[in-house]
């Protein structure tokens, strides 16, 4: 089964390498990993989807916390949450089939980004299931090119998973609020 982790990390060069190296050497199978800035300065957020059972999940969390640049880990697999993925797909769509392709686009509330003579570029966001269905919907016309972002996720409700200045979560990295992050930023 797959589990979803939200991981807050210091926004330093090399952090992604450290996280992915950890997953590789422990043999955790990454289904998807996305990373980007947050509204907090110098803090990035990852959504990591890992194929692992419930018994193994605490080990993933504990191992992540062994990296000093990991600030907070939250396994949201059993928490009500929103999952989204974005896909961009280039579909072969000559004039004669184009209306049919457009019906698929509308059915999935996807958007057309580009119209070329022999193709359409379609963009859609949704859960993985919806994206999978969209892809199957356009596959018969010929997929020329495709890219998916992997899952990004957020818990429902107003409480944030992580906020600056909040009490250190259980198992927090040893350098929480110790001024260490500046060192890490300059020297990693």
């Amino acid at each position: 089964m797959v589990r979803t982790f939200i991981v807050y990390v210091a926004d330093h060069p090399g952090v992604l390498n450290r996280v992915s190296s950890l997953f590789r050497r422990r043999g955790y199978n990454i289904e998807s990993l996305t990373v980007g800035h947050t509204h907090l300065p110098e803090i990035s957020r990852m959504t990591v989807v890992v194929a692992i059972d419930a018994q193994g999940a605490p080990l993933v969390e504990a191992n992540l916390y062994k990296l000093p640049e990991v600030l907070h880990v939250h396994d949201i697999s059993s928490v009500p949450s929103l999952h989204r993925e974005l896909v961009i797909v280039k579909v072969a769509a000559s004039q004669d089939v184009r209306p049919e392709v457009m019906r698929v686009v509308e059915a999935f509330r996807a958007r057309v980004l580009e119209v070329a003579t022999e193709s359409l570029v379609i963009e859609a966001t949704g859960s993985e299931d919806v994206i999978d269905s969209l892809i199957e919907g356009v596959r018969p016309y010929g997929i020329l090119e495709m890219t998916r972002t992997g899952r990004v996720a957020m818990t429902r409700g107003s409480a944030p998973v992580f906020a600056p200045g909040q009490v250190p979560p259980k198992g927090a990295a040893p350098f929480w609020n110790s001024g260490h992050l500046t060192v890490l930023r300059n020297c990693s």
């Binding site: 080990l59 191992n63 259980k170 110790s178 060192v183």
Partner: protein, 569 residues
Amino acid sequence: MRTGAQILWECLIGEGVKHVFGYPGGAILPAYDALCGYPEIHHVLVRHEQGATHMADGYARAGGGVGVAMATSGPGATNMVTGIATAMMDSSPIVCITGQVGSKFLGTDAFQETDITGITLPITKHNYLVKRAEDVAPTLRAAFQLARSGRPGPVLVDITKDAQQSSCEFDRSAYIPMALTEGKQNFDADQYATAIDMINASERPVILAGHGVLLSNAMDELREFAERASIPIAMTLLGIGGFPASHPLNLGMMGMHGEAWVNHAIQEADLLLAFGMRFDDRVTGTLKTYAPHAKKIHVEIDPAEINKNVRVDIALLGDVRQVLTRLIPDLAREDRQRWLHYIDELKGDSAVRDIQKLPDSGHLYAAHVIHDLWRETNGNSIVVTDVGQHQMWEAQYYKHEQPRSLITSGGLGTMGFALPAAIGAKFARPEAEIWVIAGDGGFQMTMAELATAAQEELDLNIAVINNGYLGMVRQWQEFFYDRRYSATPLLSPDFAKLAEAFGLLGITARSRNQVAPAIREARQRRGTALINFMVEQEDSVFPMVPSGAALHQMIRRPSPLVETAASEA
């Protein structure tokens, strides 16, 4: 204003560092140049950077502080990899400082450039690339704190040449080491109450004492715990010394080469109390049949070890000493006579198989050498072993009463560890008697460090257990590969003459009656002495749990020994 190189040394002094094990080179030259201004640092010139890391490791393990190793970029840094991985596996706090090419040359494949932070990423707790003089001090503070905090381990700081050369403001007097951070704890009253109930209700408990006992200085607490509840203690290899060998509750080492009664006790236990150990495959045998009747309580500072190899019923996270201190007051006083008596009966069967019972047949056995060394030193020496058969014989036959008196590469199993680690240990504990025990194979891997011992005029004793084979591999070939001794016969130099070539004392012993006199001569000699013990070539370590077998399914000592001993009786 100070240069980055000066700041480096002043930080090390601020951290209490007195010894640095290193080897100079191009990218670390500014640091070595600045070293001239800091006579309070004793720099030990090694012969290979791997030696520097093992020395730092031995220094940390013997003395309890942080060991420091230094090397240049490129090959200097990559030579450190084995020593860093060794320290990582055995939770030994060392800080490795490497020079790096100038920051403008990073990523250009410059001369002696290597991505050492990338290379050591999986084998350090953390590592840093420092590119500005301003970052030297805060990085070193953080590095020392990280190396010592929680579960200790190696940290690498890579400093570019221009960061060493450029200058910035630095107030040496304001340098204060960072306080250690608390590890993750769960002082949950319910968990503790459940644990206490399980312990008090158990009839056949066994404590598994690991390296964590030593790292948290929990020796007194462990003893109080065990004595109060009359619980026998089995030791991991790295746990040896955490509880006196002569104590009636000490069963000895468990695992692949543990004595039969220890492994049987674990397999028949109804409760295992794992203190600062990680259920390595060398101590569990196959997990399917490991301690099938036992509930398990794991006391451990590293949450990533909980349920990693063995599912446990209760996990008490935190420093072993703190956890035991909380448990002891609620521990019921028990005598557990039946259980202890039962284990004593198991010992009887093994005792007659003991090689010590063998009459002197003219053959010299490694076990005899270790036994005599233990007797001659009254068990008071620090012993630093290499890896292989002699390491297991040492663990079986040298009875350690004191903590930090056995220094050995357990997790990584690094051949070549002993001599450099002993050199480091000697600097940490100059008053202590130190014996290196190494095989003829492993010793040849790092024997160049004899020159370091000679140059530093160290008082070390070295026992080379010379059987002409890579003995442990040969043993596996004998048992599991139809005696096909592929690439294990080994030619060695005359080690005694080799020692003499370094200006050291070299002795050769070929029979049992030469063992004690040779040990005495080496001990009397000021300066390093090496004894080449020519031992039985095809001797094996028993008992042995074959890889993949259950812990109680041991290959026992061969029956001829039993028969000989029986006929003698």
